[in-house]
Structures are given as C-alpha cells and as structure tokens.
Amino acid sequence: MDKKKPKKIFVQGAIAPEKIAQSIANHQSKTNIGAHSIFLGQIRADEVNGKTVSAIDYSAYEEMAESVFHEIRETAFSKFNITCAHIYHSLGKVKKGELCLFVFTSSAHRKIAIEACNYFVEEIKSKVPIFGKEIFEDETHQWKTNK
C-alpha cells in the first residue's frame, strides 16, 4: 500500500518541473482517480530594507521532520479519502523562482483532493522542523519565519 510505505520528504536543492510531470504521469494507470490537487512553493525575490532575496538555504532537524511528516501523512489518510499523496521539500540552497515544496494529492473526487492538499500544506508549514536562511544578493542573510 502506498499509504504504508515510509516516504522520504527531502530532496537536495530545487524541485524540477520535470519531476512534477513525472509524478503526474505515474498516476495515469490509477483509473480510480478523478482529481489531483497540487501545491508548489516558489522562492520569492522579496525586498527587505532595500536588499533583495536571491535564494533560501533550507536546513531541517531531519529525523524529527521525517517522523512528524509521517504522522501528518497517517492523519491525512485517516481524515481524507485520498488514493495517494506525495510530498517533497528542498534542503540546501534554492534560488529565487525555483520550487522548494511540492504537495500532490489525488482522489476520486475534487473536493477531497483539494482539502487534503491544503491540509498537508498547512501542517507542513506549522509542524515540520524546517529552517530557512534568506540569502540576499549581497551575501548577507536573515532567518525566515512562517506566518
């Protein structure tokens, strides 16, 4: 079962658009699926006091993150009638315009896929110990905090 398999959440560096296409294509044999919901986080070139963010360098308390993520996944599968869920988050440097988070949920029906996707995004942002160093173009940095 897709549900039971332990899953790795972290990938080194940015998430490539081709990886997303590949994930989507992998679901074409699952003909009980009627809807996919995808969320992608992209690095913004935010301006802070006249300096512009050029990248975020992500780090994590990896062992805890994997275990918290596993709990989120178990809860999601018990709350929502989804057929599958795939989540990837970057570690290391991700440049502006690149993708750092990929959440992908599928279900027979659209509302379930969409709700489950939102659930994952909110839970990941609030509960998974991931840390982000916003690197400015002048190589100075500040630490990012989720609102």
Binding site: G41, Y61, K127, V128, P129, I130, W143, K144, T145, N146
Partner: protein
Amino acid sequence: MKVNIKYFGMIAETANRSEEVLEVAPGLSAKELKDQQIRKYQISDPDAVQLAVNQNLNSEVELKEGDEVAFLPPFAGG
C-alpha cells in the same frame, strides 16, 4: 549525566555550534536546560525557541541520561 544537544538555524548560528554533549545534574528539566543555554549563548527571542526532547516538542519533562534535546527556532518550511 550526559545529554546530547542539537541547535538549528538561527540558534546554531548564534551559539556557533550545531551539536554538543553536556554533563548536567540528574533531575534537570528541559525548561531549566533551555534557560541555561539561552543565557549562556545570549540567544535572542527565547519565547520563539521550542525544545524537542527525543523528537517530541516538550519542555516540561525531566531529562534522562542520553536524551537528545533540540533547540528549534521558528519553522520556515514551504
């Protein structure tokens, strides 16, 4: 007794280390360890620091030999 401490993100930067093994008094609480290390490394905004003891968010426990205590700054995933 020995406890294994891990520092992350902004805290690791301020403390200038990502891990250390500390010899602490038996019966020390996670909360007491947090206060002690925050003073020692002059970590700013202590209310924003969460402690995970053996990967569980909890500052209320009494520490045991070999515990892994992580000092976590605000999460920033996504």
